[in-house]
């Protein structure tokens, strides 16, 4: 008689082998992920401006963290980053979902469409940001040309010169780039849905809308949450898009851009590390919230 709590010698042996097999991966993870994060945390507890080696980099406890909350710029950046994250992720979810539903239908050339839709995602962000910077240019930008021809604007505008224009430009560019990624993740989920459910619902007289809300949506909860998790984390850490497209001008500085500036331009490793740790904590909390909604399903196998 065996119970689950009493393991046989064979099982214990298996577990040992499993740990052994995982050891290299765990080792690498701890060197390239755990160590830098712990080190960053350690630095964040010090006054450490590289430009001031004479200070001896004293330990100052949580003073850097307290400073963040009185730093108007950091607060503004966090608010902007949250706003950017919410707007882009919501738009990407709707557009991605719609695109995935279309791609899930059987039609001629579906393979090509699926490949083509991924192109924006495949282009490195800094390259696409440069490209969009040209598109928004006030002299020869395509964005102006198209709107002008459509009669929406009566003259060329410098879109990146105002706060609202810059925000809009960033959102459009980010949605253009990452909605396809969202679509692909959702499409993978859609393809797992059992066709029989739809068949029987159809027989029971459910129309398209009813089928969508009673079958597709509930069954898609998990894949959708996974897709949203990835996108939310990515959007919150936005760096390259902003750095290239606006350089943080017109109130579009994200918290990552600011942290990078503190670390690499101002050489304030103490305060910059505190900002980096703060970003890590927020990202961690976001992950936990999603995990909560997923009901821990990601870890379990039932």
């Amino acid at each position: 008689m065996k119970t689950s709590s009493k393991k046989s010698a064979q099982e214990r042996q298996d577990a040992k082998v499993a740990w052994l097999m995982m050891a290299p991966a765990l080792l690498i993870l701890s060197v390239i992920a755990l160590y830098p994060v712990l080190r960053t945390f350690w630095l964040s507890l010090h006054e450490m401006s590289l430009k001031n080696p004479g200070s001896g980099y004293p330990f100052i406890g949580l003073r850097n963290y307290i400073e963040i909350f009185s730093d108007q710029r950091a607060m503004t950046d966090i608010v902007f980053t949250i706003k950017f994250t919410i707007v882009t992720v919501v738009l990407e979810m709707f557009i991605g979902f719609a695109a995935a539903l279309v791609m899930n239908r059987a039609f001629k050339g579906r393979g090509i469409v699926r490949a083509a839709i991924l192109i924006p995602w495949a282009i490195p962000t800094s390259v696409s940001a440069m490209m969009w910077k040209f598109i928004y240019n006030d002299q020869y930008g395509m964005f102006n040309d198209v709107l002008y021809r459509l009669g929406i604007i009566d003259g060329y505008k410098a879109w990146l010169s105002s706060a609202s224009g810059s925000f809009m430009a960033l959102v459009i560019t980010d949605v253009w780039k990452t909605a396809p990624y969202m679509a692909l993740l959702i499409l993978a989920g859609l393809q797992m849905l059992p066709e029989e459910l739809y068949e029987s619902a159809k027989l029971d007289g459910a129309n398209v809308i009813q089928r969508f809300f009673t079958i597709t949506i509930p069954l898609m909860k998990r894949p959708l949450l996974v897709a949203l998790l990835f996108r939310t984390l990515d959007a919150f850490r936005v760096f390259d898009l902003i750095s290239v497209l606006t350089g943080g001008a017109n109130g579009t500085e994200s918290i990552c851009v600011y942290a990078h500036k503190q670390l690499m331009s101002f050489l304030d490793f103490g305060y910059g590390s505190a900002l980096a740790v703060l970003i890590f904590i927020v990202v961690f909390i976001i992950s936990l919230i999603y995990m909560f909604f997923m009901g821990g399903d990601l870890a379990g196998d039932d």
Binding site: P53, N137, Y140, A158, L160, L263, L298, A299, D301
Partner: protein, 453 residues
């Protein structure tokens, strides 16, 4: 699997994700080139002869080997000079340590080395704006004894003051750069303007006469970035303003600065494109190249590009002059860029001495002339601008010398990166109209004051 284990695993998984994804915040990422603090504006020259021997020749057995770290933007020309130096004597052997063409990248690399007390480089080519930072941190050796007073006089005055911190010379001027006002000679002729205007008003009047042919009077750089810091400094200088006074005290919200910044902001959307607040050098130059603007403020080396028929619609009709001033009779001051040579503070005396010998040789008139001929970089030594061989190759130096001689340096602060960032954010808000000029400059004053404490 127990429920608690599962929960733990879920949390662990979330952690790993966060670790991997949060890395952006703490990682060292190179700043984009657009943000580059240096306006070295390196011009690729088709006539450069890549040398194959550099770095491959063997050092003589008893020679002191020193490593010279420099910007790949002038890589070929520099290697040629190094080879020449190595061939000229046998006591010192210079090895190349070439870094990517990006001033911020160079800066970060040097900072890392200095913090780690690394002695792998002896001589560094440092962007002029960072000399104060390095001197204040004690990472570079003073060079007071390297040059006699007469020798220092041979350099452009702006390059020497840029290499000086708290009254001590910490760097040797290697090459420099300055901006200038490029203008359309054909349009001035057409409008019957014989004398090239010198004031803002003069250029505005000239524009009124040629309005039908061009859309704008001025094209410059107003992007939130280092390029705009240079432009803004020039605007305030042209109204008699300053960022820091002689004692290093912040004077950002002076009446002159407010007037100058207001003038700059008012030009945007009227005499200059609305989009200048998004322009770095290339965008502003494009407007001029397309023939849409009467003038364009940019770096001297662009003369070649503007006069290249393959790239520019206005080739052959481009002149170069001083930046405009507000009062007739004043001289326009251009912003200076370029690289200085500094020595690592951690190296031993034998290396220090060898490094100084090499620097002295690199900055001699003879070497600088040769370097100018192959790299087309404006030299730091005055006499070269009137040298016949140089003028034959770079004819615009005739006009350019007076401009660069009147060049000014950006504020010399050990916290230059922060000062520049504060100027970028606050002045940009004034230029886009998000804040009144006065509020923006008051905010800037507060920030710069806090930085100079």
């Amino acid at each position: 699997m127990k429920k608690s284990t599962k929960k733990l695993l879920a949390a662990l998984l979330a952690m790993t994700m966060a670790f991997g994804l949060a890395a952006c915040g703490s990682d060292v990422e190179p700043a984009p080139a657009a943000e580059s603090a240096a306006e070295t504006e390196i011009e690729a020259d088709g006539e450069q002869q890549p040398t194959e021997t550099a770095g491959e020749a063997e050092a003589p057995a008893d020679a002191v080997v020193i490593n010279f770290a420099y910007d790949e933007g002038v890589g070929d020309a520099t290697r040629e000079m190094i080879d020449k130096f190595n061939a000229s004597q046998s006591d010192i052997f210079v090895e190349s340590y070439s870094l990517p063409h990006d001033a911020n990248n160079l800066h970060d690399d040097f900072v890392n080395k200095m913090v780690a007390q690394d002695t792998s480089v002896d001589v560094m080519a440092l962007d002029v704006v960072y000399v104060s930072e390095f001197a204040a941190a004690g990472w570079v050796n003073p060079m007071d004894d390297l040059y006699t007073a007469e020798e220092l006089d041979a350099f452009l005055p702006g390059t020497v003051s840029g290499a000086t911190y708290n009254g001590t010379l910490y760097a040797a001027p290697w090459f420099t750069n300055a901006s200038a006002l490029f203008y359309r000679t054909d349009l001035l002729e057409q409008a019957g303007i014989a004398e090239v205007p010198t004031t803002w008003q003069g250029w505005q009047d000239a524009y009124e006469k040629v309005k039908g042919d061009v859309d704008y009077a001025f094209s410059f750089q107003g992007i939130q970035g280092e390029a705009m810091v240079c432009d803004w400094c020039e605007f305030i200088w042209s109204f008699g303003g300053q960022v820091l006074d002689e004692n290093g005290t912040a004077v950002c919200n002076s009446a002159e600065n407010i007037e100058a910044t207001q003038f700059m902001a008012d030009l945007i959307g009227t005499y200059a494109p609305e989009g200048v607040t998004t322009y770095a050098e290339s965008e502003s130059e494009q407007v001029f190249k397309e023939g849409k603007a009467l003038t364009c403020r940019t770096w001297s080396g662009t003369w070649n590009v503007f006069n290249d028929e393959a790239e520019s619609n206005v080739a052959g009709n481009v002149g170069m002059t001083f930046l405009p001033v507000s009062e007739e009779g004043d001289t326009g001051h251009s912003c200076m860029g370029g690289l200085d040579l500094v020595t690592n503070v951690w190296i031993d005396d034998a290396h220090k001495e060898a490094a100084n010998t090499f620097i002295k040789w690199m900055t001699s008139e003879e070497t600088e002339k040769e370097f100018t001929l192959i790299s087309s970089q404006p030299p730091a030594v005055k006499a070269i601008y009137s040298d016949a061989d140089v003028l034959e190759k770079i004819p615009f130096y005739t006009d350019f010398f007076a401009i660069i001689e009147a060049g000014n340096t950006r504020p010399l602060s050990p916290n230059y990166a922060e000062v520049s960032d504060a100027i970028q954010r606050n002045v940009h808000m004034a230029l886009t109209g998000e804040q009144s000029v006065e509020d923006a400059l008051n905010a800037l004053q507060g920030e710069v004051e806090a930085l100079s404490k």
